[in-house]
């Protein structure tokens, strides 16, 4: 039973992976450093 739940979890993870790739998401962007956050915010709220 547990391995079936795990299989469902894997299927969801792969589906999320496909969607992310299709929409141009880059996971590395989650971990990048931004030293000038204040300036970035200014950009977004221009």
């Amino acid at each position: 039973m547990k391995h079936k739940l795990y299989a469902a979890y894997c299927a969801l993870a792969i589906l999320a992976f496909m969607t992310a790739n299709y929409r141009g998401f880059a996971a590395s962007s989650l971990f990048r450093t931004e030293h000038r956050q204040q300036q970035d915010q200014n950009h977004y709220h221009k």
Binding site: C10, A11, G24, F25, R32, H35, D40, H43, Y44
Partner: protein, 440 residues
């Protein structure tokens, strides 16, 4: 293998009818001694006085008088139960212990007129179904491994086995305090035991039996639950682990195939590529690119920077701005490269290239704004830079992140399995810690 143990010859699934029980009078107390395996049984124990009587001839000689008081067996003598499609009758029962007498286990002699004899052993609520085998197994040298039927068994424990109590009948000459050298080799759920006495070696082969199966077979409701872990008890996680690992491998394969598909269809187009020399006066000044056209819908966009710094650093703050919507995204691209040599030889760290990916950037007209700072600026020196913008690049970060999300459950299952095996082998008295790495 189970079939090998239970059916050495052509299986006879017919249950045998209750046969006549031949009775004798105990020469010691006059009590009744019943013999179920007539013609095969050599020694029988008087249920009344506990004397061991030689019933192989008409003289009924007393071999041993009882030294200990009667002890009840969990499966009473005369009980019948079906195991491996054969009905067995319990005809003998004995309690044995290790040399110290602290560790006790119980052995039941089973009989079926068509199949012969088998044993059920029980220790701490763990049961094994055992058959004596007539094979020559090589155990020479320092090897802790023996092989039988293409299965490797590892030495788990060795010591003495002393008979402490007997009841019922036996097809060999039995004696309380009889002492034999024993060695148990395991390949869960199988066990191979060697008993040596007076130069004779007897091998037996067994399989672990869940206590509920024994209870069901002999219709016993209250068999105690097992305590601890038996030497040949199969890990309860082995089957689940296999299924989980299979699911993981299939998922990882599917994930890789999907990644390769996306790599193949990625445009991977360089939309901006400039080499510039930033003078020291450029510190904190905004360098703005010419317009960059990003085509298509949502796609990642990678900004790559390269500088041939040596024992120095450069840092770029890059902002990609949409000319129409003013939406922008920023990131820092640090470049640092140091090298030298010391007593350990030449060394280097860092690199001269770095890149950053912007997620889900819509198509449109953009400008790249870059602010540069560098270690060389403090010395008034310029730095050479190359900046590239790549649209819809193949990116592996999503693949690794997803793979990381798939890993914890198989890893947890593997850890639980290993904890079980470590606990199991911590009971081994052969000091074979090295066996642990070879057990699973």
């Amino acid at each position: 293998m189970v079939d090998d143990i239970s059916h050495p010859t052509e299986p006879d699934k017919a249950a045998f009818r209750p046969g006549p029980v031949q009775t004798f009078s105990c020469p010691n107390c006059g009590g009744v001694i019943g013999i179920r395996a007539l013609g095969i049984t050599i020694n029988a124990v008087c249920e009344s006085c506990g004397s061991i009587v030689d019933v192989s001839n008409e003289n009924l000689r007393i071999i041993e008088t009882a030294a200990v008081k009667a002890q009840a067996a969990q499966i009473p003598i005369g009980s019948r139960g079906t195991l491996f499609d054969t009905e067995w009758e319990v005809i003998g029962y004995m309690i044995r212990s290790d040399g110290s007498g602290r560790y006790l286990w119980r052995e039941y002699l089973l009989f079926n007129p068509y199949q012969g004899f088998r044993f059920l052993t029980e220790a701490n609520g763990h049961w094994n179904f055992i058959k004596n085998i007539r094979v020559a197994i090589e155990t020479g040298g320092s090897s802790r491994i023996v092989e039988l039927d293409e299965r490797q068994y590892r030495l788990f424990e060795q010591g003495r086995a002393v008979v402490r109590y007997v009841m019922g009948e036996f097809y060999w000459r039995i004696s309380v305090e009889e002492d034999t050298a024993v060695a148990d080799y395991v390949a869960a759920p199988h066990i191979l035991s060697k008993e040596s006495s007076d130069g004779d070696i007897m091998w037996s082969q067994g399989i672990y039996m869940p206590h509920r199966e024994i209870g069901n077979a002999f219709k016993l409701d209250k068999l105690p639950a097992p305590k601890g872990i038996a030497p040949n008890q199969p890990s309860p996680y082995t089957g689940k682990l296999g299924q989980i690992v299979n699911v993981f491998l299939v998922s990882a394969g599917l994930l890789l195939a999907t990644q390769l598909f996306f790599n193949e269809r990625a445009a991977d187009r360089v939309v901006f590529d400039r080499k510039i020399q930033a003078p020291a006066s450029a510190r904190d000044q905004l360098l703005i690119s010419e317009p960059i056209t990003l085509t298509g819908g949502l796609a990642n966009t990678v900004v790559m920077a390269k500088s041939n710094v040596s024992n120095n650093w450069v840092e770029l703050d890059a902002t990609l701005s949409n000319d129409v919507t003013d939406a922008s995204d920023s990131a820092t691209l640090p470049i640092e490269y140091y090298s030298g040599s010391d007593s350990d030889g030449p060394w280097s760290e860092g690199g001269q290239t770095t890149e950053v990916a912007f997620s889900s950037v819509p198509g449109g007209e953009y400008h790249l704004q870059v602010e540069v700072d560098a270690g060389a600026f403090a010395e008034g020196k310029p730095v050479d830079l190359q900046v590239k913008v790549i649209r819809d690049a193949p990116i592996w970060a999503n693949f690794w992140l997803t793979l990381l999300l798939l890993l914890p459950y198989p890893a947890w299952a593997l850890i639980r399995h290993w904890i079980f095996v470590l606990k199991q082998w911590s009971e081994s008295n052969t000091g074979s810690v090295s066996n642990l790495t070879r057990t699973t």
